[in-house]
Chain length 331, copies 2
Amino acid sequence: MKLASLKHRRDGKLILVSRDLTQAVDASDIAFTLQDALDEWDTLSPLLQARYDALNANKASGRFTFHPVDCDSPLPRAYQWADGSAYVNHVELVRKARGASMPESFWTDPLMYQGMSDKFLGPRDNIELCDESWGCDFEAEVAIITDDVNMATSSSEAGEHIKLLMLVNDISLRNLIPGELSKGFGFFQSKPASAFSPVAVTPDELVSNWQDNKVHLPLSVHLNDELFGAPNAGIDMTFDFADLIAHAAKSRPLGAGTIIGSGTVSNIDRSKGSCCIAERRMLEILDLGAPKTSFLLYGDRVGIEMHDKEGRSIFGRIEQEVTPYGIAQQR
Amino acid sequence: MKLASLKHRRDGKLILVSRDLTQAVDASDIAFTLQDALDEWDTLSPLLQARYDALNANKASGRFTFHPVDCDSPLPRAYQWADGSAYVNHVELVRKARGASMPESFWTDPLMYQGMSDKFLGPRDNIELCDESWGCDFEAEVAIITDDVNMATSSSEAGEHIKLLMLVNDISLRNLIPGELSKGFGFFQSKPASAFSPVAVTPDELVSNWQDNKVHLPLSVHLNDELFGAPNAGIDMTFDFADLIAHAAKSRPLGAGTIIGSGTVSNIDRSKGSCCIAERRMLEILDLGAPKTSFLLYGDRVGIEMHDKEGRSIFGRIEQEVTPYGIAQQR
């Protein structure tokens, strides 16, 4: 199934989107919002599935053309956004660039932070920024959405709680991070709203590309129409999504609609490019002694998308432009 | 106005509670949930106020006896819970106890972390714990709830966004904190679900005790019926709630229903006692060379309440017992 939320008040209005992303049909009579659907997933998902099947067979009444620009993030706001850092290669590179070693435990104990979730950006919304000097960066990631997860759920049980997948642009303000992390309480001002792909999909949509609780496909990132990187999300992912859920649920249950991110996708094979500017800058520091690529400036555009092996877009495209705060304008 | 949420599905059912906390009346026809009310506060709060006035005049039809045990937290789940650390005295003490100095910037730049908000505990719910050795501690705090706050709102403008106040028991797993903070990404497993007071109140309910965006009353904490501390929340609060909102909104807007906590209330005057076990243990380390008070064990009970100068409870009482995970039982 592919689901999306049309922009409508604070929580959107649920629609189903055809597998090829061309057509859509209203689903708000089954569940008005995606959160409503997740709150009663076992009951409502069969009803959604039946309509989705009809849509793909061109038999759903009230079909309309799907326009990603009309979409909010699938969950326009959520009760939890927990972002992991599952590509430990990426973490090690960051540390190496500043001459620090990485604790051995990072290979066995996932890094995760609690992100803000009270208002995400839509997949085509501008990234409004008060100050270019804050060092705005994109981070392309994969994320999952869970149903209710009991406290102390193990990795081996956690996979069944993965109900939906999305892509993420986890926006970071790089130059605010060192000061903030040095205070010891993690990110706050340095992690403003993330944006998610137009469409959230059930794992079965990935067919054989979903295995071992990982997505085995390249995640492509464009900066101003130039390919910035396309590492494979299934390669070098030290912790799979079940591990990340189990980490999050160690000392508490997780509510339905919890979003968990993979962290910036990163492959050891450098020819695959990077999913964030910071990683490219680290490689430049290691290779050239100094970073060359600047962080995002007003007018820069970021595109994030994932295609199956036949070249078909799975989640639709995140496409955002950085603009000065106050000049709100949708693409 | 005093508002509460009866336990009902995931988001509760909104009621109004009389000023003396004895009577209540349904308000779910005006807004089914407190989040619904906050989403349209300007429109709905006058309707709620009219019914609240009738309730206090014994003129509201359908009045019933108010039982805090029937309550969930006012927002049973929320889109944002950002906890500050506004009593810098407390922070300095923690550091002193472990021989570390505190950066001077902590007096001018608030500490704040992003907390989990997908499922809070109700004010009388047990604190279910997998492992006593995790070092479970209470932290008594005051919190506010905002309406929508624009990005880059200044401290001088932020006060008008404070719509409601509550008390909080911000539960911490002390022995998980050092390992987690050393990873650099802040709290996650060490900060499970918080509990909030049965009732959320509008600032006018505090009358002259609400000044300069602070609550000028003692916050009393009981551990197993013994008074543990009653520091005044208006004293030694380095950053007021407007400062905390402005800090949170520096790089992003805040959605309606954002909860911001004061951090553990703490007075320099030691005779006032402490609002968490960790602070008492720090004082014991400073005085005796070693901590004496243990963290919470199964069966321990915590009570958190605030009274006005006439001795009337303002928010109702948080009253929780620590129990082994799996033995769910409401008091």
